[in-house]
C-alpha cells in the first residue's frame, strides 16, 4: 500500500545528449537530478530537471511526449543503452523512477538511426515511418458504401493475431535497438495486421512490396534476426511478424 511505503527520494546524475538543431554537433552534458521521488515517471523527472534549468536561465532538455500513457508512441529515448530503458514492455513515459537507485548515473540519448535525424536534443524526426505507411499501409476503401460489418466473419484466432500486430505504437524503439537500424519490426507489424484479415487480401502483394521497398529507400538496414527489436518493443510485437513479412515479400516479387 502506498501509505505504508516510506516516501523515498533519490539523487541522480544525468548524462544527456544535447544538440541544438539538426545541423549542429551534439555532445553529452552532465546534470544533477536531485530529490527525485521514486513515484515519478522518467519524463516527470525530466520535467523537474527542466524546471530547474529554466530557472537558472539554461536551455531545458527538449524531448517529445504526449499521451504519457504508453500508447501514442511519441516518447522514446535510449537510457543506459536501452531503448525506453530497463523495464520490459514499458515506454519511457510509463517507466517509473523506482527502477533506479540513489546515486545512479543515467545516460540519456535519442533513439538514434540514420533514418531518424535528430531535430533537437532528444527529439527526432520519424517521418520515415509515415512514408512507409503512405507507401501501402492501408486498405483502399473510400468513405461509405462498405458492407455490413458482420458480413464477413473472421476467425477469432486470426483477428486476435491481427490485433497483436496492430498494437504497434510506431515509437521507433525497434530501429534504435537494432544493430542494423532496421525498421523490419515496424513494417512487418503493419503488413501482418492487414495480411491476416480478409479485408486486406486484395492488395496483399502490392502492399508488402511497396512497404518493403519504401523501407529500403529510407535508409533502414536489413534484418539479420538479432531479435533486439522484439526485446525493446514496449508493445511486445513479435519477431514472427518479420518472418511473415519476408514470406509475403517473396511471394509478391515472385508472382
Amino acid at each position: 500500500m502506498s501509505e505504508e511505503k516510506t516516501e523515498k527520494n533519490i539523487n541522480l546524475t544525468l548524462l544527456v545528449w544535447r544538440q541544438p538543431n539538426a545541423e549542429a554537433k551534439g555532445t553529452m552534458q552532465t546534470y544533477a537530478a536531485e530529490n527525485i521521488s521514486t513515484d515519478m515517471s522518467f519524463l516527470e523527472m525530466l520535467d523537474v530537471v527542466n524546471e530547474g534549468l529554466i530557472k537558472s536561465s539554461a536551455d531545458p532538455i527538449e524531448f517529445d511526449s504526449d499521451c504519457r500513457e504508453g500508447i501514442c508512441g511519441t516518447c522514446g529515448v535510449v537510457i543506459n543503452g536501452q531503448a525506453h530503458g530497463p523495464q520490459r514492455a514499458t515506454t519511457v513515459c510509463q517507466l517509473h523512477m523506482r527502477n533506479f537507485k540513489n546515486g545512479d548515473k543515467i545516460y540519456i540519448e535519442p533513439l538514434r538511426s540514420k533514418a531518424f535525424p535528430v531535430v533537437k536534443d532528444l527529439v527526432i524526426d520519424r517521418s520515415a515511418f509515415d512514408r512507409i505507411i503512405t507507401a501501402g499501409g492501408f486498405i483502399s476503401v473510400n468513405t461509405g458504401g462498405t458492407p455490413d460489418a458482420n458480413s464477413i466473419p473472421i476467425p477469432k484466432a486470426n483477428s486476435d493475431m491481427a490485433m497483436d500486430a496492430a498494437a504497434c505504437i510506431g515509437c521507433g524503439a525497434c530501429v534504435a535497438a537494432c544493430p542494423n537500424a532496421s525498421a523490419s519490426l515496424f513494417t512487418s507489424a503493419k503488413i501482418s495486421h492487414l495480411a491476416l484479415l480478409p479485408q486486406g487480401q486484395v492488395e496483399r502483394k502490392q502492399r508488402a512490396q511497396s512497404m518493403v521497398d519504401q523501407m529500403d529507400k529510407e535508409g533502414f538496414g536489413d534484418c539479420s534476426n538479432v531479435g533486439e527489436c522484439e526485446a525493446a518493443c514496449p508493445k511486445e510485437i513479435s519477431i514472427s511478424n518479420i518472418a511473415r513479412m519476408k514470406r509475403e515479400y517473396i511471394k509478391a516479387v515472385l508472382s
Binding site: 500500500m1 502506498s2 501509505e3 541544438p20 538543431n21 521521488s37 513515484d39 515519478m40 515517471s41 516527470e44 523527472m45 520535467d47 523537474v48 529554466i54 530557472k55 531545458p60 527538449e62 517529445d64 504526449d66 499521451c67 504519457r68 500513457e69 500508447i71 501514442c72 508512441g73 511519441t74 523495464q87 510509463q94 517509473h96 531535430v119 533537437k120 527529439v123 520519424r126 517521418s127 515511418f129 509515415d130 505507411i133 503512405t134 499501409g137 492501408f138 486498405i139 476503401v141 473510400n142 468513405t143 461509405g144 462498405t146 458492407p147 460489418a149 466473419p153 473472421i154 483477428s159 491481427a162 490485433m163 496492430a166 498494437a167 505504437i169 510506431g170 495486421h193 484479415l197 479485408q199
Partner: protein, 637 residues
C-alpha cells in the same frame, strides 16, 4: 446575431436523409479547385481529411505531433457505441438517441443527436472495411459490451485500445490520400490564428514548431478538429499537448463558444501521487462492470482494505443506486466519490481516493478471466502504483476527462463564422451537459466520415469564394499579430515557468469550477484567474530560443489561452445556476441531493460571443426545443 441552428424542417427520423437530398452538390470536376484546411488529425480530423480528399477536394491537413497517428484520440481505451443491435438485446437508433439525450441531461439538440445515432452503424462498417481489428467472438462475429451506464450492449472495442485502432484506421485512410497526392500533410504545426476575408474563414496562421517560422495557409474553408480543453485544469487524462488554442483564437475572431462550463470528470482514474504529477491516467470505465466501489464506513479508517470486514464497508453506489449500482453514469459516480471523501472516508495517503475492488469478481470468475478482460489495465496500474490489483483493491479518484462544451455549430457543423466548420470534441454539438462512455469516438468519426463530406459541399456550392492568396493584407496582419504575441511572451523575463502558472490555474479551476460549484467559489475564481493572468504576462520565464524547437514557448502560448478560457468557464458556470449533467451547482439539488435541473429557466445553449479585450463576453442563447422526448429528471436509483 441571432443564432440559427439551421435544423431542416422535417420530422426527426427523416431529417438527415431529406437534408442530404436538399444540400447543394459540388460538381465532381470542380471539387479539386477547392482547398480545404483541416486542422487536427484525431478521429474527427483524420476521418474528415481522408473523406474530403477521397471526394476530390484538395486537402491540407495540420497537426501538432510529429505524426498524424499520434493525436490524442489514440489514447481512448474503452470503445465506440453504435446502434447495430447485433446482440439482439433491444437496441435501435431511437434508443441510442434517447440514451444520449437523457445522458446529456436534456441539454443537447435533438436533431444532431438523432443523426449521430443514425450514422453510428455506418461507422462500424467503415472501420471494419479499413481493417480495424475489433474484438470478435468464437463464431467470428463482432463482440459487444455494455459500457458506462447503458443497459444494452452496444459498445464495440479493440481490447483496451479502441481509440488507437480507430485512429490508425483513419490515419491509414489519410495516408492513402497523401499517397495519391490529394492531402498535403503538415505535421509539427500549431495553428495560432484564423484568417477572415470578407467575413469568411479563408486561412490559418500556423507556427512551424521545428523552425519557429510563422506560415500562412489559404483555402476555401477551414475545418477545425482540434480536440477538447480539459487541460485547462492542468491535471487531466488528456495528452499533454491537448489544448484550446485553435478554438480560442477562432472564438476571438467571432466564433461563439458554447457551454464552456460543461466538463466531464471521469470517476475511475489513478489518484494524484504528488506535485510532480504531469497528467492523470484513466483506468477504463469498463472496470466498473466487475469491480465494486467502496470506502470504509468509519472515518479515517486506515487499515488495509483486506483487513476491513464486509460489514464495515460501504458500497455506496450499490446502496444508493440499486438498479445501476457501480454502473451509474460518470458524473454521478464522480460526485459520490467526492462526497464520501469530503466526509472523511476517503482512502490512500491523501484521503482522496476510493477502492475499486475485484476480489469478488476474481472469486466468481477466476483470475484468468479477469486477466483476459482487464490484464493490460491491471498491468498499467501496477506499473504506476507499484501495487498488485489482483491481490489488493485498486484506489481510484475522479479526474477531468472530457469537455462537452466547445465552439458553437449549427446542424451543418458550421460555427458562427461562415466557412469555419468544427468537428469532434472541439465542438459542443451532441453530448449536452454530460457525455456517455464510448460516444466521443462515435461522434468524432460521425462528424468526419459522414457529416462534413455533405455539409461542407453545401456551403461551398452556395458561397461566392473569390480566390485569395497569402500576400493579402489579412494574412500579413494575422502573421504580425502572431509574431507580436510571441515576441511579448519571450520578452517578459520573469520568474515563473509556464508549468508553474498552469498548475496554479489548474488548482483554481479544480477547487472552484470542478466537480461541485457554488456562487461563492465561482466568484472567487473570477477574482483569482484575472490576477493569475496578470502575473503570467508580467512574471513568465521561458527559454528565449526563437529559431528552432522551443516547447516551453508552445506551452506558454497555450497556458495564456487557458487563462482566458478558464475565466469564461467560471462565468458560464456562475450564470447557469441550475445543476445539469457534469455541471453541479450545490445550490440546485433535489431532496435526495442529486443534481436538479431547472428547465423553465435554463433549457438553452449558452453561446458566448467575444466582444473585445476590454469588455466582457456576451451571452447569446439558443433555446432547446424538445418535440420528441419528454424531459424527465434523471434517475438511476
Amino acid at each position: 446575431m441571432k443564432l440559427d441552428s439551421r435544423e431542416p424542417n422535417y420530422p426527426l427520423s427523416e431529417m438527415w436523409d431529406k437534408h442530404r437530398f436538399d444540400v447543394k452538390l459540388v460538381n465532381p470536376a470542380n471539387k479539386r479547385k477547392y482547398t480545404i484546411l483541416v486542422v487536427g488529425t484525431g478521429l474527427a480530423g483524420a476521418s474528415a481529411g481522408a473523406s474530403l480528399a477521397a471526394l476530390g477536394y484538395n486537402v491540407k491537413s495540420f497537426c501538432i505531433q510529429d505524426s498524424a497517428r499520434r493525436a490524442h484520440s489514440i489514447a481512448a481505451q474503452g470503445g465506440i457505441n453504435a446502434a447495430k443491435n447485433y446482440p439482439n438485446d433491444g437496441d435501435n437508433v431511437w434508443r441510442l438517441f434517447y440514451d444520449t439525450i437523457k445522458g446529456g441531461d436534456f441539454r443537447s439538440r435533438e436533431s444532431n443527436v438523432y443523426r449521430l445515432a443514425q450514422i453510428s452503424t455506418s461507422i462500424i462498417d467503415q472501420c471494419v472495411a479499413q481493417g480495424v481489428p475489433f474484438a470478435r467472438d468464437y463464431g467470428g462475429l463482432l463482440d459487444n459490451r455494455s459500457f458506462g451506464g447503458a443497459q444494452v450492449s452496444r459498445t464495440f472495442y479493440a481490447r483496451g485500445q479502441t481509440g488507437q485502432q480507430l485512429l490508425l484506421g483513419a490515419y491509414s485512410a489519410l495516408m492513402r490520400q497523401v499517397n495519391k497526392g490529394n492531402v498535403d500533410l503538415l505535421t509539427r504545426r500549431e495553428m495560432l490564428d484564423l484568417v477572415l476575408i470578407d467575413g469568411k474563414a479563408r486561412g490559418i496562421t500556423v507556427r512551424n514548431l521545428v523552425s519557429g517560422e510563422i506560415e500562412s495557409h489559404a483555402g476555401d474553408a477551414v475545418v477545425l478538429a482540434t480536440g477538447g480543453y480539459g487541460n485547462v485544469f492542468f491535471l487531466s487524462t488528456n495528452a499533454v499537448n491537448s489544448n484550446a488554442t485553435a478554438a480560442w483564437r477562432c472564438y476571438k475572431k467571432g466564433a461563439y463558444f458554447a457551454n464552456p462550463c460543461y466538463t466531464q470528470i471521469h470517476p475511475t482514474c489513478i489518484p494524484v501521487s504528488g506535485d510532480h504529477q504531469s497528467k492523470l491516467t484513466l483506468m477504463s470505465e469498463s472496470l466498473r462492470n466487475d469491480g465494486r466501489v467502496w470506502v470504509p464506513k468509519k472515518k479515517g479508517d486506515n487499515r488495509k482494505p483486506n483487513q476491513i470486514p464486509e460489514d464495515e464497508r460501504s458500497y455506496y453506489l450499490e446502496e444508493k443506486y440499486p438498479s445501476f449500482g457501480n454502473l451509474v453514469p460518470r458524473d454521478i459516480a464522480s460526485r459520490n466519490a467526492k462526497e464520501v471523501c469530503d466526509e472523511g472516508r476517503g482512502v490512500g495517503a491523501s484521503g482522496l481516493a476510493v477502492y475499486l475492488d475485484f476480489a469478488d469478481a476474481i472469486k466468481r470468475l477466476g483470475e484468468t478471466t479477469i486477466k483476459e478482460k482487464y490484464g493490460n489495465l491491471f498491468d498499467m496500474y501496477e506499473r504506476i502504483k507499484d501495487e498488485n490489483p489482483y491481490k489488493s483493491a485498486m484506489t481510484i479518484y475522479p479526474a477531468v476527462h472530457y469537455t462537452m462544451g466547445g465552439l458553437w455549430v449549427d446542424y451543418n457543423l458550421m460555427s458562427t463564422i461562415p466557412g469555419l466548420h468544427v468537428l469532434g470534441e472541439a465542438n459542443f454539438s451532441d453530448h449536452g451537459a454530460n457525455r456517455l462512455g464510448a460516444s466521443a469516438l462515435m461522434q468524432g468519426l460521425a462528424d468526419g466520415y459522414f457529416v462534413i463530406p455533405y455539409t461542407l459541399g453545401h456551403y461551398l456550392a452556395q458561397t461566392d469564394l473569390p480566390p485569395v492568396d497569402i500576400n493579402q493584407s489579412e494574412f500579413k496582419e494575422s502573421e504580425d499579430a502572431v509574431n507580436k504575441r510571441i515576441t511579448k511572451l519571450l520578452s517578459i523575463n520573469g520568474n515563473k515557468t509556464p508549468r508553474e502558472i498552469h498548475r496554479e490555474l489548474g488548482k483554481i479551476m479544480w477547487d472552484y469550477v470542478g466537480m461541485a460549484r457554488n456562487e461563492e467559489g465561482l466568484k472567487k475564481a473570477l477574482e483569482e484567474i484575472p490576477k493569475l493572468r496578470e502575473e503570467f504576462w508580467n512574471n513568465l520565464n521561458i527559454p528565449t530560443t526563437v529559431g528552432d524547437l522551443n516547447k516551453n514557448l508552445e506551452f506558454a502560448g497555450r497556458v495564456a489561452d487557458f487563462l482566458e478560457l478558464g475565466e469564461l468557464m467560471a462565468r458560464d458556470s456562475l450564470e447557469r445556476s441550475e445543476s445539469c449533467g457534469g455541471h453541479f451547482r450545490e445550490e440546485s439539488r433535489t431532496d435526495e441531493g442529486e443534481a436538479k435541473r431547472n428547465d423553465d429557466e435554463f433549457s438553452y445553449v449558452s453561446a458566448w460571443e467575444y466582444t473585445g479585450e476590454e469588455s466582457a463576453a456576451k451571452l447569446n442563447k439558443e433555446e432547446l426545443v424538445f418535440n420528441n422526448v419528454k424531459l424527465s429528471q434523471r434517475s438511476y436509483k
